[in-house]
């Protein structure tokens, strides 16, 4: 529990980013939020490569993924993460506008930990983001780091 509990937010829409950050700040969640604008950047961050080659080591405590993003979409990022033994245990929440059944099914098939439809209603939105963050970063216990790296 001594590691920095940062959150990776992959979201292409600047307004959604602003709203999400606002929601997290409103509830005084002190985690560092790393914002990436598409799936490719998200993967770069996770693998500490490209622009993120020199970032502080360590996996994020939670990944919030938008589905519809340019270049590499959220489902592809999810697919990569859940097929990589080192990244598999990081909790992933699909945070998306889509209520489409196909997106939902596909996300769970790929192994997402949660799927949240961004509510149009902002107070619900704040609530959802806050709940998610608290659950995955505060209450949820991850497997011990040593064990994860040994996989």
């Amino acid at each position: 529990m001594s590691e920095p509990k940062n959150i990776l937010l992959a979201e292409d829409n600047p307004l959604d980013i602003e709203m999400t950050l606002n929601a997290l700040q409103t509830n005084h969640l002190v985690n560092e939020v790393v914002v990436v604008r598409n799936g490719a950047e998200a993967l770069d961050y996770l693998y500490a490569r490209g622009a993120y080659a020199h970032r502080v080591a360590g996996d994020p405590a939670l990944v919030l993924l938008d589905i519809k993003m340019p270049k590499v979409d959220g489902l592809e990022v999810l697919h990569c993460m859940k097929n990589d033994a080192k990244l598999r245990s990081i909790p992933v929440v699909m945070l998306t506008s889509s209520r489409e059944e196909s997106d939902l099914l596909q996300s769970y098939k790929l192994g997402t930990n949660a799927y949240v439809v961004k509510p149009v209603d902002f107070s619900s939105f704040i609530e959802a983001v806050t709940q998610l963050s608290i659950f995955w970063t505060v209450h949820n216990e991850l497997p011990p780091r040593v064990a994860r790296e040994a996989e």
């Binding site: 829409n13 307004l15 959604d16 709203m19 606002n22 409103t26 519809k68 998306t96 506008s97 889509s98 209520r99 489409e100 961004k118 509510p119 149009v120 209603d121 902002f122 107070s123 939105f125 704040i126």
Partner: protein, 485 residues
């Protein structure tokens, strides 16, 4: 090849045998009759001739009154075994000599009858005048038993019977061979027709075995089969094309609704979200008017979001797969009533739920139907101190099950009944009764997908009754009525 005796073969055989038998019989019979008459005439003329000869020979014996001579002459009759009796009478009519000599008294007439032929008791008799130089000396009597004729006729009948039998036997074997030419192509045709109707295989063809009418029939049959096969293929092809077109249209619609669901909701979320953020950021510096504007922006965004969601749900109704399973309506209604508790809270509603039939349909879709109808009933009775909501099944006739939901709420003017089930059609202002106008459109679409229909009857300020009719081939009665209040 054929398990049962094919009737057409038997019919042909019987036909041929009867015809052949009749022809042979008629032929034999006419020969028989002809023979009978010919032989009879021959017998008669022979007897006449014999009578003349004997009469001529007897003149002397009669003239000289010599009974012995007469006896001797008559004895010559023995040469013909069919002459059973003979006699000579004097001119005065007294019996002078007889043949055979030992003939009993009763076997020969005591006195001559009129000259000429007489048929008596199965035999032929003649009285022949014995004349000399124009003077009548007496009368000769001869009787034949016609035995020769009967013997010959018997022989002839026997031969005739044999001929008939032989002809029939011959006809049987010949026709058996010949009728194949007719029956076999027909049977082959029938077999092909049966294959077509049993297996719905339009690719089989009957083999043309002759150039006659049956051959033409076979050709016409094959031609028809070919046409049916072609039409079938065209139809299948057309169905495939239409299905592909439909699928493409459906995919477009899918893409459209996906984009609506993603792209339209995003700016809406921002309008609502930033209005809240504005309120948080500058709420204190805004006056009441300013705060109201922000609140209106938020409410409108929320309402727009609700509309989009309802519309998406509605458009998905037409596309989603439908499962058919038995649905217990009473259980369904009970569950919906539980979920409506929040809205009912604090109100007094009298529920009257009759025994509803089990129907077959998609449980999730039917739940939407009744959830909408019950929510409406609850909503539109809001202004009643004593709300009454009633569910029941109407008389089941004309092949459908009718279920009704009746309330004593606001009702509506029947003038607008046709607008009730249209998308976004509302008969009440949203400040009076909230709603998006998708609920009843949803109800109608689901019921129509089940092959049923919906309609409503109402009176303004007195209440409304909504009817759902489902095809009752899939419905059956249940028991256990429930009554709650």
């Amino acid at each position: 090849m054929f398990p049962q005796a094919p009737p057409i073969r038997r019919k042909l055989m019987v036909m041929l045998l009867v015809t052949c038998g009749a022809v042979v019989m008629v032929t034999c019979l006419s020969y028989f009759i002809y023979e009978f008459w010919t032989f009879r005439r021959t017998t008669v003329s022979q007897l006449d001739l014999l009578g003349e000869v004997i009469a001529n020979n007897s003149t002397a014996a009669l003239a000289f009154d010599s009974a012995d001579d007469a006896q001797q002459i008559l004895a010559a009759l023995a040469a013909d075994r069919h002459i059973v009796a003979g006699g000579l009478y004097t001119a005065q009519g007294a019996l002078f000599a007889r043949y055979p000599a030992a003939l009993a008294e009763g076997m020969i007439p005591a006195a001559p009858d009129t000259d000429g032929r007489h048929f008596v008791g199965g035999g032929l008799a003649i009285f022949q005048p014995v004349m000399r130089n124009g003077k009548r000396l007496g009368t000769l009597y001869l009787r034949s038993d016609l035995g020769a004729m009967y013997e010959r006729l018997k022989l002839f009948a026997g031969t005739g019977a044999l001929v008939v039998l032989a002809s029939l036997a011959l006809a049987f074997f010949v026709s058996r061979a010949l009728q194949r030419q007719i029956s076999e192509p027909i049977l082959a045709l029938a077999e092909t027709a049966r294959a077509v109707s049993d297996r719905h295989d339009y690719s089989v063809r009957a083999v043309r075995q002759s150039a006659d009418e049956i051959g033409q029939l076979t050709d016409a049959f094959n031609h028809m089969l070919g046409r049916i096969q072609q039409l079938n293929q065209e139809l299948e092809q057309r169905v495939l094309e239409r299905t592909a077109e439909l699928r493409a249209a459906n995919q477009e619609l899918e893409a459209f609704s996906y984009s609506v669901s993603h792209d339209l909701r995003a700016p809406l979320r921002h309008i609502g979200g930033f209005a809240v953020m504005l309120e948080q950021h500058a709420g204190r510096s805004l006056d009441d008017k300013g705060r109201r504007y922000v609140a209106v922006i938020q409410d409108s965004a929320t309402r727009m979001g609700q509309l989009i969601d309802d519309l998406l749900t509605f458009s998905r109704l037409g596309r989603s797969e439908m499962r058919r399973e038995p649905v217990k309506l009473n259980e369904l209604v009970e569950e919906i009533r539980q979920s409506l508790q929040a809205e009912i809270n604090g109100r007094h509603i009298t529920w009257r739920v009759a025994a509803l039939p089990h129907v077959s349909g998609d449980a999730a879709l039917l739940r939407q139907v009744f959830a909408n109808l019950l929510a409406n009933a609850v909503k539109y009775t809001r202004q009643r101190a004593e709300a009454r909501i009633e569910l029941g099944a109407d008389g089941r006739d004309a092949g459908e099950t009718v279920i009704f939901v009746r309330d004593n709420g606001a009702g509506f003017d029947m003038k607008y009944a046709d607008k009730l089930f249209g998308v976004f059609q509302r008969l009440h202002h949203s400040d009076e009764f909230e709603g998006t106008g998708v609920g009843l459109a949803t109800v109608r679409r689901i019921v129509q997908r089940h092959g049923g229909r919906v309609w409503a009857e109402a009176k303004l300020q007195e209440g409304a009754t909504f009817f759902v009719a489902l095809p009752s081939a899939t419905a059956r009665a249940s028991s256990a009525p429930s009554k709650n209040s």
